[in-house]
Symmetry: C2
Subunit: 409 residues, 2 copies
Amino acid sequence: MADNVVVAGVGMTRFGKYLERGVRSLAEEAVGDALKDAGLEAKDVQTAYFANAVSGLITGQEMIRGQAALRNTGLLGIPIFNVENACASAASAFHLAWMAVASGQYDVALAVGAEKLFHEDKTRAFRAIGTAVDLESLQELKKRMAETQSKDAPTGDQKSGENRSFFMDIYASMTREYMKQSGATADDFADVAVKNHDHGALNPRAQYRNRCTREEVLASREISPPLTLMMCSPIGDGAAAAILCSNKAATRLGVRKPIVVQASVLVSGRDRKQDEPGAAERAAKRAYEVAGIGPEDVNVIEVHDAAAPAELMVYEDIGLCKRGEGPALLRTGKTKLGGKHVVNPSGGLLAKGHPIGATGIAQIVEICEQLRGTAGERQVSGARVGMTENGGGFLGRDAAAMSVHIFGA
Amino acid sequence: MADNVVVAGVGMTRFGKYLERGVRSLAEEAVGDALKDAGLEAKDVQTAYFANAVSGLITGQEMIRGQAALRNTGLLGIPIFNVENACASAASAFHLAWMAVASGQYDVALAVGAEKLFHEDKTRAFRAIGTAVDLESLQELKKRMAETQSKDAPTGDQKSGENRSFFMDIYASMTREYMKQSGATADDFADVAVKNHDHGALNPRAQYRNRCTREEVLASREISPPLTLMMCSPIGDGAAAAILCSNKAATRLGVRKPIVVQASVLVSGRDRKQDEPGAAERAAKRAYEVAGIGPEDVNVIEVHDAAAPAELMVYEDIGLCKRGEGPALLRTGKTKLGGKHVVNPSGGLLAKGHPIGATGIAQIVEICEQLRGTAGERQVSGARVGMTENGGGFLGRDAAAMSVHIFGA
């Protein structure tokens, strides 16, 4: 079953600030582009999985978000499922669409993620993002975070919902632990942001297309030490979509540039001890097994750099280097355009943007374009195997949901 | 693929008012009961689908509701998906769990739905339920509803969010159309409530166990004409769970009383014209095809009587009688305990209760117990084939999501 499903077409909006557009408008653009890219029509799609994380708290639309968003696309009538897994909502929707096709139940499935975070009341987005943790154990989490604060790294007032998300306090806490284990410094995290902004400058659909320097990143507003504003993914709006189909259907429907799904893996996190493998490591290991490859075979990777240090941690989780060697790998330049394992050529969440429920599929859009060789100025030369890593939420020290996909040209 | 999946075990809380318990506590009870019923342990479960509709708006927990609710069950680590489809959320979760097993990807899957609607601030529940419609087209809907109001049936102030849900205004509008088509009267709707309360009185897990008379139903508080309070499903809390596994795994794991899933169908609604088939009719037709049976073969059925008139409409949608003959079928007594096609032996949503995200699986719990012959005082004699119909949300004049399942002993 591992390789009988292909991505037939992909589409996405530019990520950014769309105060005048709603989730429906963004979703329509992405779905329309994906259908056009696949050379298919709405009537060819047999089932749809819709990812969104915060509409309930931002716009009030809960319960049937996908049906509402897709109302004018010609897709209504088919099975539609609303899927949520925090920042991994879109990869979850993609995984379920993959399963629908892999199972033999459906020939053609749509996965779409759409999100609007910008609202006149900016605090709504920060508060909404804060629900990606288990609220019942928030108190316990705050206590642990207070314990890991070093004397020389004041962390502000730990309040969220004003001009930043509590979520970044969690990343900051994990980052301080990671600095102890790896020797990573704020300079390293700034360098991740510099690299991803360099990539984003080449991506017409990135929210930020400005290059920046280490000094600028370090000098930007403090969010939660050691994180500065430019080390954190921005608030943004956008949508991304992918059409999946069976190999047979791809031939029958004349799909021109199918990309093979070599592995589609999703796991949930656990209340783990510090020395137990996290969700990303477990998901990546399983994905490599299913695809029958190893990290050395992967040319291009989109990872979940919601905060810059996370990219270095993921290098280690997915086996690009050993534990503690993330900063050293970054310094070799191997993860920059022109390197052996290019990470986040799209600009990543830091520069391309992070409309939560769209991100996981936007990563897949980038990988499909890279494997087709149509990524323009940011093309990874000779890319044959690509990978995405999309995590969502926190449970203790683990991600709540984690998805890893591997694709082949 | 149609019949290689069985329900290995089911469990549910009593539905009711649990001000002192959260979603987690309710989910834990249902999951624990389902595992015990199946003779399995948490470690046997390979993937889980969690249904919930309103936690985001009632408690603030969005994004990772299932991981938060299942945190102490020993299930974390496996793939967990948060699924939402308004009042059909639980059937959607069950369908995806079925697909996970039917696909051959997993041997054992959990579907669980849990909901808390009661809150110190009662208006929260009413407002939350109101999000099961496409908010962008709410204005259009209100206009159409105003047009279908008859002079002699004042509909109140059309305000919601105070002591009732706007949702019941939609049901009332549909009911007025149905009365014209079928000749149904308020007496008929009251009789549905009387029947389902008679059934609920025999169900230890029903929220309401009181019998009632037609006169009492008609005299209860007006909600939205012709609907009175006792014709509307109540606000309630609860959880329901089902363990699904492959036939092979059922044998290997020693499952004692497997119930065969003969058909698992979900569709979305459409912006249909009045004479086009609705989502329930389409889903039922497909389910009969897959199961290779017809309505005459079904002994026991749980339908989505969120408002009493809906039960009569569904009689017609699922082919128990012809169009317009719902009221006549009710009067024959065939849908009451002792009849040929017993509908809502559990008490239905009207008497058993309707904690939104739990309902679809609670229906399946009832059917499994009926087919095993363990339904006690409310046992349908000789039940061999059972069916569930679970609808969610509104899109124009259609349900937004609709699921029909058929089960065999």
